[in-house]
């Protein structure tokens, strides 16, 4: 069940990422939904699931991007693993802590991705700070939103059901 949930989350993130990017090309998209999904999975299920999710998501993303397969996979594996480890060591149930995790994970991923690319393509390492920070903040906001929705949905359903039951009792 957990594996299916993780795979479904990655697939949805990937489809949304590519579909939305088709309408906002050329760097207008400063969000990586796959990375958000990997960080979410790592925080929710731990380091092992996080690193496996990072591997799967990153490899598929690399294959679709047409570049060298493995750069994104390795970057996301590292991120998924470290976020999972940190999530187990520290309490990250507050929105601010989670936001910082998403921001940090995005920046770490960017550093890993660019460093690996620079290493393979034999060129200097360069990381434009402004786009990286923008992406990190946007990813953080989306991650927090995802947590709120996923954690709040069962409670909302339960309240709605109990309210309906209460109305039913009043009528009869």
């Amino acid at each position: 069940m957990k594996a299916a949930t993780v795979l479904a989350a990655l697939a949805v993130a990937l489809v949304l990422q590519t579909t939305l990017a088709g309408y906002t090309l050329a760097g207008a998209t400063r969000v990586s939904l796959v990375l958000v999904a990997v960080v979410y999975v790592a925080l929710a299920y731990g380091a092992v699931t996080g690193l496996l999710a990072g591997t799967a998501g990153g490899l598929v993303q690399d294959a679709l991007a047409g570049g060298i397969i493995g750069i994104g996979g390795l970057s996301k594996t590292i991120v998924g693993f470290l976020v999972g480890v940190l999530g187990a060591q520290f309490i990250v149930s507050q929105p601010l802590a989670r936001f910082l995790m998403f921001v940090g994970a995005t920046l770490l991923h960017d550093v890993c991705y660019r460093a690996l690319s620079a290493l393979i393509e034999a060129r200097g390492f360069a990381m434009p700070l402004s786009p990286a920070l923008t992406q990190a903040v946007v990813n953080g906001a989306i991650g927090i939103l995802a947590f709120q929705i996923i954690e709040g949905a069962p409670g909302l359903m339960q309240r709605r059901q109990s309210r309906r039951a209460s109305y039913g009792r009043r009528r009869y």
Binding site: A26, T29, T55, Q61, A63, I68
Partner: protein
């Protein structure tokens, strides 16, 4: 079945053991990635099987989603957004008349250009042919400026074929195309490059993608060359990919560099933020083996003379 139960128990124990040793798993996965990357970097032949397989499968999903979104948009356009259509119609009519006048001017200019070409004894026999394609997905990773089109191997698309839009060059096909989809690397990608020259002075150089604003830079242009902001940059054709003379962009900034070359920023003419349809130049890139023409090729349109 005691043997089977024992086998299951052993497998579960093994899995639990692996899950407990997180560090070991992380190391193994990392090493797997390193081996995977190394194999690709050292290899000089073909495209990885995984890439072709995943891209082929996922491009169909992307195509389905794109069709769904287009359908929704069409429904919106046809049934909901009919308000103001009369005013829009009038505006469009005026635009059509305006464009008709412009078309006449363009035709006159084209006729004059053809005469000049004949006078200069340039080769005008061959013409490019284009294949119209629709963008079905954008870049899957923010680090790479690519898009996916709904034309592939079955339509005659090959790796390294140039992709253009009415305003200028968009990019080139990278990797092995799937049967009905291909990945296009945009010219603004940081690892993209094209041979280029300044149209006014014919000063040559190389246009490369940057991650800054403007998104293109023209390198290898001598400090002695005459380059001014506003100059049009066109493809030189020396790279064997992009057709000569196609527009790339306009010079936005031109400064004298510290070494031999100028620092030139180029603003692309194509608006990369709103590409929906593109044209693939159906000409085998320099050094590539032309594909066999497919039995049922998608309709192509003839392009301007080379």
């Amino acid at each position: 079945m005691p043997g089977l139960e024992t086998g299951n128990w052993e497998l579960e124990t093994l899995l639990l053991d692996i899950r407990r040793r997180t560090g070991l798993l992380f190391f193994a996965v990392t090493m797997g990635h390193v081996v995977l990357i190394s194999a690709q970097v050292q290899s000089k032949s073909g495209v990885p099987v995984l890439q072709t397989f995943v891209f082929d499968a996922f491009s169909r999903v992307q195509g389905a989603f794109a069709s769904m979104l287009h359908g929704t948009r069409n429904v919106w356009g046809n049934y909901v957004a009919l308000r103001g259509v009369r005013a829009e119609n009038e505006w469009l009519r005026s635009q059509v008349s305006d464009l008709e006048v412009r078309l006449q001017q363009e035709r006159a200019q084209a006729a004059r250009a053809a005469k000049l070409q004949e006078l200069l004894d340039l080769r005008s026999g061959s013409s490019l042919s284009f294949l119209a394609a629709e963008v079905i997905a954008g870049h899957p990773s923010p680090g790479m400026q690519t898009l996916t089109i709904n034309r592939g191997r079955a339509d005659g698309v090959l790796a390294d074929m140039a992709v253009v839009a009415p305003k200028g060059i968009v990019g080139r096909v990278i990797g092995e195309p799937a049967s009905h989809a291909a990945i296009v690397q945009l010219l603004i990608d940081r690892s993209a490059a094209a041979g280029a020259l300044i149209e006014r002075t014919r000063a040559g150089g190389m246009v490369v993608g940057t991650e800054r604003d403007p998104p293109l830079a023209m390198d290898l242009v001598s400090n002695l060359a005459d380059v001014k902001p506003g100059d049009v940059v066109v493809a030189s054709g020396v790279d064997g990919i992009y057709p000569k003379g196609f527009a790339i962009g306009r010079v936005q900034t031109a400064e004298r560099g510290p070494n031999l070359y100028q620092k030139i920023g180029v603003r692309p003419l194509v608006d990369f933020s709103s590409i929906e349809e593109v044209l693939v130049v159906l000409e085998a890139p320099h050094g590539a083996v032309p594909a066999e023409p497919p039995a049922e090729r998608a309709p192509s349109v003839a392009g301007p003379p080379k």
